[in-house]
């Protein structure tokens, strides 16, 4: 187990360098004026230009300069120094304020996903081809197909503005209630996927040979489904949920933007709108790291759940 985690950790370090290098190269390689690229169409003041040149070591040129800058960027990233946004605020401070909100939102979305998605998925899997199964299949297909940019504003309009069941926007220091609707919207996609995954896994595992064995042991059906089938069915689902938690934290760009929730995604949303290059780069870098860590956690979780992986 320890060896497995160590190996995964090593792979993650490699993936970290690989991914950040790609992100970094995409952002900076072969540009005419990297500073202008960072700032987009906004005019850049001399002070900002000087700061960015120093910050990203843009005075060094060529491949050598690129790698120098890359490692400098990594060092800063690892030290938690993300630099300043174009508005002059420390990006680290912005994120420190944003993370708790984003995590709260992601946890609400995850809770909705697990409670509704997995439960309904198990039911649909057990009663395959029933009315319940067929209608959930169709419903999840619709949810999967409707983009968040449609779902979020319409939910906001109908449930928030029109019928006033929920606060339409969250504001500076959102409480649980004002995060509930965005949480449901954010979780709906993962919910639909989790439901489908659970359904397929349960339906498949119900036909597995070990279920026949469990029946021949004289176990009650509830126990066979609840312990034997569920344990095996949840392996792909938990894997998916782990990746999804990483996604939910970084992927709330639309939802946080629409509902005005001051989380990480909202800041990225605003940074894109205001063309604040350094802030976009800083947030994306951090999100990529979060994403990688989420993947590592998932792998370890996978090994805990599935003994066949553990001893490979």
């Amino acid at each position: 187990m320890v060896r497995f985690i160590l190996r995964r950790l090593l792979q993650m370090v490699l993936a970290f360098f690989g991914t950040t290098l790609i992100v970094y190269a995409l952002m900076f390689a072969g540009q005419g004026d990297p500073i202008q690229a960072l700032a987009g169409e906004r005019p850049v003041t001399e002070a900002q230009r000087a700061y960015l040149t120093e910050k990203f070591h843009l005075d060094r040129t060529g491949i050598d300069g690129f790698f120098y800058r890359y490692f400098d960027y990594i060092r800063n990233l690892l030290q938690g120094d993300l630099g300043e946004s174009l508005t002059g605020r420390q990006i680290g401070d912005i994120l420190a304020a944003a993370w708790p909100v984003t995590i709260k939102l992601a946890l609400i979305a995850m809770a909705v996903t697990v409670l509704v998605g997995v439960t309904a998925g198990v039911l649909a899997g057990v009663r395959r081809a029933s009315i319940f199964d067929n209608s959930t299949l169709l419903l999840t297909l619709v949810v999967l197909a409707v983009p968040t940019i449609v779902l979020a504003p319409i939910a906001q309009y109908l449930l928030g503005v029109r019928w006033q069941l929920f606060p339409p926007t969250a504001g500076a220091d959102p409480d649980f209630y004002s995060l509930l609707l965005p949480g449901i919207v954010l979780g709906s996609l993962s919910l639909a996927t989790a439901l489908r995954l659970t359904r397929t896994a349960v339906a498949e595992n119900l036909r597995a040979d070990y279920v026949r064995t469990a029946r021949s042991k004289g176990l009650v059906k509830r126990r066979i489904v609840g312990i034997h089938v569920l344990r095996n069915s949840l392996i792909p689902v938990v894997t998916f949920l782990g990746v999804e938690l990483g996604n939910l934290m970084g992927g709330a760009i639309i939802t946080e933007g629409v509902f005005n929730i001051p989380g990480v995604g909202f800041n990225l949303f605003r940074a894109i709108r205001t063309e604040d290059g350094p802030l976009v780069v800083g947030i994306v870098s951090v999100l990529v790291v979060v994403y990688l860590i989420a993947n590592l956690v998932v792998d370890v979780l996978y090994a805990v759940l599935d003994p066949r992986i553990r001893y490979e």
Binding site: D209, G218, R231, L305
Partner: protein, 361 residues
């Protein structure tokens, strides 16, 4: 019966009448005077989108306390389905039990509620399966899986179940049992896994053990060990055993009686010695002749020509007739009765006597 050519619709009925007319021959008596376990005229269908497959067409056999019955047949002959019907673990749908009885200690299991049947599983009748790797749950340690039966069914505490699980694993001769309790199925070798499976089946001291192709997935050397183990355990624990197999070689040293199945029917039923010596059904004869023998030098190994029947379109008359070297017009027209040949032997062949006496072939 001549000229009464059965149509597809009446075929099953005709077979049912003829088979139920045969009275089971008396064997060692059980408390109630009947058999410990008895299958009577069982009919099972599988209904799928493509049609109805008649998987079991009037199977009857019995098992007495302490004896071993081997059920022999190729895959698709319905031997496993019969066993699963006895256990009550057929998947319904697609399986439908059309008619018949399965009597255990005089009570008809098919008339019982699901809850009553569940109580029988494991405590009275237990079953082991062909592929232990897929039959064991991959995500729980084997000790847990053996203990689960004890905790759930016998109400044992965690500690007691653990101790008993070790005893059971020692009983099936798993070395260093205590230290292997926490291992997962995939960490065992094939033979050891099958032993775990057996230990699990024995947990509640069943009176009947159904072994569904217990050695098919194993290496030849391991096969013998598992068969020996099963045979010893059956004797020591005074169980009765139904051994399901397609391998005539496995049966010889272990079974008391053999029932040969073909296309969802029992075509021949005899004690082991007579069946090997004088098979009374062309199918059995064909099976025996297709076994390689050390004392038959230089002879070509014979095979049964043709393919097993499509169970959605079982041939008219005797279902074996398209493959039978003895085939006559009557075989195409008339479903054969079980012919009683004495010594408790039956054969569902119009020419059973001729086949039995025809040693030259």
């Amino acid at each position: 019966m001549r000229g009464n050519r059965p149509t597809r619709g009446s075929e099953r009925k005709a077979g049912a009448v003829s088979q139920s007319a045969v009275q089971p021959t008396p064997a060692s008596p059980t408390p109630e005077g009947g058999h410990l376990l008895e299958v009577r005229d069982l009919h099972v269908e599988f209904r799928t989108g493509e049609g109805v497959a008649k998987v079991i067409n009037g199977v009857s056999y019995h098992l007495d306390a302490g004896e071993t019955l081997a059920v022999l047949g190729e895959s698709g002959s319905g031997k496993s389905v019969t066993a699963q019907a006895i256990m009550g673990i057929l998947d319904t749908p697609p399986a439908v039990i059309r008619s018949g009885q399965i009597r255990y200690q005089g009570r008809d299991l098919l008339a019982q509620s699901e809850e009553q049947r569940r109580q029988v599983r494991g405590t009275e009748i237990a079953m082991i399966f062909q592929d232990a790797l897929s039959a064991l749950n991959p995500t729980f340690p084997v000790g847990w899986q053996i203990g689960e039966t004890l905790r759930q069914r016998a109400g044992m505490s965690r500690g007691d179940a653990r101790r008993r699980a070790i005893e059971l694993m020692e009983l099936v001769k798993i070395p260093a049992a205590a230290s292997r309790l926490g291992d997962y199925p995939h960490q065992f070798s094939g033979g050891m896994r099958q032993r775990v499976m057996i230990a699990m089946a024995l947990a509640l001291n069943p009176k009947v053990l159904i072994a569904d192709e217990p050695t098919t997935a194993l290496d030849v050397t391991v096969q013998a060990q598992i068969m020996d183990l099963l045979s010893d355990l059956r004797r020591d624990l005074r169980m009765a055993m139904i051994l399901i197999t397609h391998d005539l070689g496995v049966v010889a040293g272990v079974a008391d009686r053999i029932a040969v199945m073909y296309a969802g029917r029992i075509v021949e039923h005899a004690d082991v010695r007579s069946l090997y010596k004088t098979p009374a059904h062309p199918y059995t004869k064909g099976l025996l002749e297709s076994i390689p023998r050390l004392d038959f030098h230089g002879q070509q190994l014979s095979t049964i020509r043709g393919l097993p029947p499509n169970l959605m379109r079982i041939p008219s008359g005797c279902p074996f007739h398209p493959r039978c070297p003895y085939v006559q017009q009557v075989c195409v027209d008339v479903v054969p009765h079980d012919l009683v040949l004495g010594d408790g032997r039956t054969s569902a062949c119009h020419f059973a006597q001729e086949v039995r006496d025809d040693r030259a072939r």
